[in-house]
Symmetry: C2
Subunit: 109 residues, 2 copies
């Protein structure tokens, strides 16, 4: 297996899981924090910053890009990656209601 049975869940549940999954690795968390912090970035910076090999960083960037959370523009020999503001906002609209469910009635036992 190793394969989630997405067809038995709602679109919302699958969307939440997809975003969460991409946040589920500290390297990607670190990449995103770095992009927020310095506002613009090339991949090489991230390799130095994070300490994983260049292909590994490139792979993580690809996953973030696939989900639309970042975008990359070619600038000469390097690539300028940055947060995709619109999609990040969209992601928050999906994640927030999940994290913010009414907790007042919980804690039954």
């Amino acid at each position: 297996m190793g394969l989630a049975k997405t067809e038995m869940f709602t679109e919302d549940q699958n969307a939440i899981a997809l975003f969460a999954k991409v946040f589920g690795h500290p390297a990607r968390v670190s990449i995103l924090q770095h992009l927020f912090k310095i506002n613009s970035c090339v991949c090489g910076d991230l390799v130095n910053e994070i300490g994983l090999a260049q292909p590994t960083i490139s792979q993580h960037l690809k996953e973030l890009k696939n989900l639309g959370l970042i975008k990359g523009n070619v600038e000469g020999t390097s690539v300028c990656y940055c947060i995709d503001v619109e999609n990040w906002t969209q992601m928050k609209k999906i994640m927030y209601p999940f994290l913010d469910q009414d907790i007042s009635k919980s804690d039954c036992c």
Copy 2:
């Protein structure tokens, strides 16, 4: 590999990734939503509700429990699972600043 190099990241980054990872499967998202909705729950309900086999649900519950997001009390032959309000609140304190990073200066390219 398949193993994240957690030692090269901050505690905060690893904590975010750990929480996100457990949210990274639609079955666990569904379980949590269900627990919030009906406020109290036994595992059997979840098996019917979600449609995965009982051992699979049990395993997902275990992961949620390991992270402290839910707790389970034995009630006769069944187990009453519910959200751990305190830890859920703690989780939000970690996840929110990450999701809510200042976006205003982003979108450079």
